[in-house]
Amino acid sequence: MDQSGPGRSTQQPLIIERPDLTHPLYRALGIGVTLAAWAVWLLMWFWLAQAALASVGLRLPGPTPPGTLSLSSFKALMNMAPLAALCMAAALALGVLRRWWLRRVMDRHAPVRLVGLDRLARDAALDPARLRAWHDEQILYVEHGPMGRVKDASVAPPANPTVQTAL
């Protein structure tokens, strides 16, 4: 039984496989409809065999499918296929070429220019000394401006009780 709280073990099993927590009827239904889905899929192979045999003049007795795509659908798509395939191949080739070029060029780049604390503070419109101090704190209460930018931070909780922090 989980007993969440400070100092207590809170690790549930990694894989949570507890079908016993679901209603037996739902479990049975789930297995039943899944078996039915497999059966329907296998029936489709029967229809495929029917179609294949019908194409050579043989008839396989049994239920016929309600309807299916016709050869004319494929012929219509085949007319457009070469152009589509050419476009896709060109895009892929360009993608591969550019990736190869990026690997050759980018791996020889100068090392990445790190974002120092001063630049971080400047770009966030903050005082670097204050940001440095905030980096050393374990718990902070942060206020934001209208666009979600950090406006201020303090180690003391705010006066209004909006933020729940006490147990």
Binding site: Y26, L48, G148, Q164
Partner: protein
């Protein structure tokens, strides 16, 4: 008598039908081939043992950023797991974003026990993106790793993420999220789906040097790269998609590391699943609508295949839904034949789509098997993958596009309270 829609459209009708069938099949094939290529060229070296990361004399210090909103039920577990990481030098910066439950107090108590845990309390709720930005500003290190407040990192995840930053053009690295909760049918379907979609698609995209998005639940960033692109955007519903695209538009490489594991809780109710997937669809659409002018520049040519594929997936969704609506109309007005077709693909087309989807799920599970014991057991539920993924994608895409077009672009994205599945302490 008025001609039917197929008669009016002629060849276009047949082409639409064929596109609706061919597109999922083609994409599955691409993802499988790409995933296998990624495994062959990159993933199998040096090995796939998660608990044996590369050795080096010194590891750079990193900051793990954990934005939280009302995470009282999960946060202790998440923080305790972080404190068990084997990485030598790291700090954890947890952000309490104006939670209305006990999250703040719990974090303060945890900070008293763990000196490397730092807490930032937002006086007023600001949203996840601002939480990440604040944590980034107030953290000390160059490598920043963002995780969710309910995620559990593997003890060696940081090692596997950090090694990628040896290459100077890498701006971000995303890890491999694995589903923890597998108690219901929905949970088990998502186990396979995460391997097939998140895992395999990322591998396939990386095989051509691209990635659609980092997984927000586990992603490492180079601060310099983030600073260049302006960090996370508060107005974006999916800040992870947004930052991934802006990094790549800025010329940075975004890598995928399948050995950096992160265990997450996923919705196990239909409502929760719908809500999550709708947000993902809206977020992806919002980002692409915002960035498409930049994408059309010639220097962004390498990103076009992914942009085109995303656009085609939206087109597919709309065509699929239109065909379904037309089919339903035909069934209702059965006295007047409208020449529709059963777009739910009963018949031999369904057999082929099912086969390709099952192959995709099997390939993806085989690739992820070293990282997730017992994964193959979920193959039984994989028959739902074509409907679970493609139908939900179609429905959410069609709903997402108008919602995003009508949304106020300046509106701040707010936290949602996700369904975290069936767990023992729920009873």
């Amino acid at each position: 008598m008025m001609p039917t829609l197929p008669q009016m459209l002629g060849d276009v009708w047949h082409a639409v039908l064929a596109f609706v069938f061919i597109y999922p099949v083609l994409m599955s094939l691409f993802w499988m081939i790409g995933g296998i290529l990624f495994y062959w060229r990159i993933e199998r070296k040096p090995h796939r043992r998660v608990d044996d990361p590369p050795h080096r004399d010194a590891w750079p210090p990193v900051s793990v950023l954990v934005p939280c909103f009302n995470e009282a039920k999960q946060i202790e577990e998440t923080i305790e797991a972080l404190m068990s990481l084997r990485y030598p030098h790291f700090e954890v910066v947890a952000v309490n974003d104006g939670s209305t439950d006990n999250t703040g107090a719990l974090l303060n108590a945890l900070a008293a026990r763990h000196p490397r845990l730092r807490i930032i309390h937002h006086v007023v709720n600001q949203g996840k993106a601002v939480g990440l930005n604040t944590a980034a500003l107030l953290s000390r290190n160059e490598i920043l790793i963002g995780i969710d407040g309910d995620a559990r990192l593997d003890p060696y995840a940081l090692h596997w993420l950090v090694v990628h930053f040896d290459r100077p053009h890498v701006g971000a690295v995303t890890g491999n999220p694995r589903v923890r909760n597998r108690s219901t049918m929905l949970g088990r379907i998502q186990v396979g789906e995460f391997s097939s979609i998140v895992g395999l698609i990322k591998r396939a995209q990386r095989s051509v040097g691209l990635i659609f998005t980092v997984s927000g639940v586990i992603a490492a960033f180079r601060r310099s790269a983030l600073h260049e692109v302006g960090y996370w955007s508060p107005g974006k519903l999916t800040e992870d998609v947004d930052v991934s695209w802006r990094l790549q538009l800025g010329g940075w490489d975004v890598a995928f590391e399948p050995r950096a594991l992160c265990w997450i809780l996923m919705p196990e109710t239909l409502r929760g699943l719908w809500s999550q997937r709708l947000r993902w669809s809206m977020g992806g659409t919002q980002v692409l609508l915002d960035l498409w002018p930049r994408l059309l520049q010639w220097r962004q040519l390498r990103l076009w295949p992914m942009f085109i594929e995303f656009a085609m997936s939206i087109l597919w969704a709309f065509l699929f839904v239109a065909l379904v609506v037309y089919r339903l109309l035909d069934l209702v007005i059965y006295q007047i034949p409208l020449d529709s077709v059963p777009v739910l693909m009963l018949g031999w087309t369904g057999a082929l789509i099912g086969l390709v989807s099952l192959l995709q799920t099997t390939v993806s599970m085989l690739l992820d098997r070293p990282y997730d014991r017992g994964l193959m057991r979920n193959l039984f539920w994989a028959i739902w993958y074509p409907s679970a993924y493609w139908l939900i994608t179609a429905a959410t895409s069609v709903v997402a596009v108008p919602k995003i077009l009508l949304r106020d672009m300046e509106k701040r994205a707010v936290w949602t309270s996700p369904d975290r599945g069936v767990r023992p302490n729920n009873h």
